[in-house]
Subunit: 103 residues, 4 copies
């Protein structure tokens, strides 16, 4: 089983054990992605572009950012799972579209 399937399965098990399937409609999961993306962007809102670089961020700030990114990623994987979407394939397809769009 590959890495993405592995993570997806652990997220699915987490939700199933808590009987959260009923909450995890695609609509609600899309909202959760937007909510977590909002928290992520808020981490950066008062930083300068330079101050947002890896070397300028404190360990604590980088840790917060990392966990906010994980939250977005978790809900992306969950939504992909619920919709039967292979997210790696979707990324590859979108990158091909981008290649032809930005020559």
């Amino acid at each position: 089983m590959d890495q993405i399937e592995n993570l997806t399965a652990s997220i699915r098990n987490f939700a199933t054990k808590r009987d959260w399937g009923k909450f995890h409609t695609p609509k609600n999961l899309a909202m959760a992605i937007a909510g977590e993306a909002g928290e992520l962007v808020a981490e950066f809102q008062w930083l300068t572009p330079e101050g947002s670089s890896k070397n300028e961020l404190s360990d604590e700030k980088l840790r917060d950012i990392r966990l906010e990114m994980a939250d977005v990623q978790i809900y992306i994987l969950r939504l992909a799972d619920v919709l039967g979407i292979d997210i790696a394939e979707a990324v590859s397809e979108k990158m091909k579209i981008n290649e032809s769009r930005f020559r």
Copy 2:
């Protein structure tokens, strides 16, 4: 090379070839994630929870959603790359935190 590294490398090459590194500060990439998450949530805003399920979505709508999800995923991978974050590891760590939080 694993799946996530693979996708990350292709996204990095895409940006490098176009000399987009200067735009891809962590601050800007976090904004791009929020922007794409906004487009994703907009796909679902007038749907009922039931109407957002896999079986109810038209092929065209599902395709649009899939590509919006890819956009969020691409910028998550790009931000992780720029910040030197292993996103799979971050997800695993966050899932452990969630396990202890929601017993």
Copy 3:
């Protein structure tokens, strides 16, 4: 009738005429706000902080930003209307909280 009530009434009439009341649940309107805020932030994602200032923006860019801001504002007024919230009063109350928080 004051300015905010005036705008709120015109937005309400617009929705009522099109029989959009059924779509305008608070949940859906909150999604619409997040979606429009995503479009707004996307206008700024590749700009430098300096390049985002009033004097640096082209007329066309400023016009796009202005209309994206209007979209967020319209849905805020609509959500306030549907929830029976006086948004001017809510802002005043929140500013008082901020005053005591950031001395």
Copy 4:
């Protein structure tokens, strides 16, 4: 002085007193709007559409939502101020565009 100008002036004074002008670039304020919109949509993410209605929300939940809406509104007014935009006029113009678009 009208209601919107009044609120705008109090927000401006709040920022000026704390010397926050340097943080309030249009780029950063757009991020703040996206961040607050993310918090607002998160309030609704696990609610059913029916459960999100005024009569179904608890007093505490409605209070939280109201203050999140105020946060979005505050940053919209601040951004409009910084960009020299009359937000009431922008809303009126956008409503005219919507009228001609959705007949």
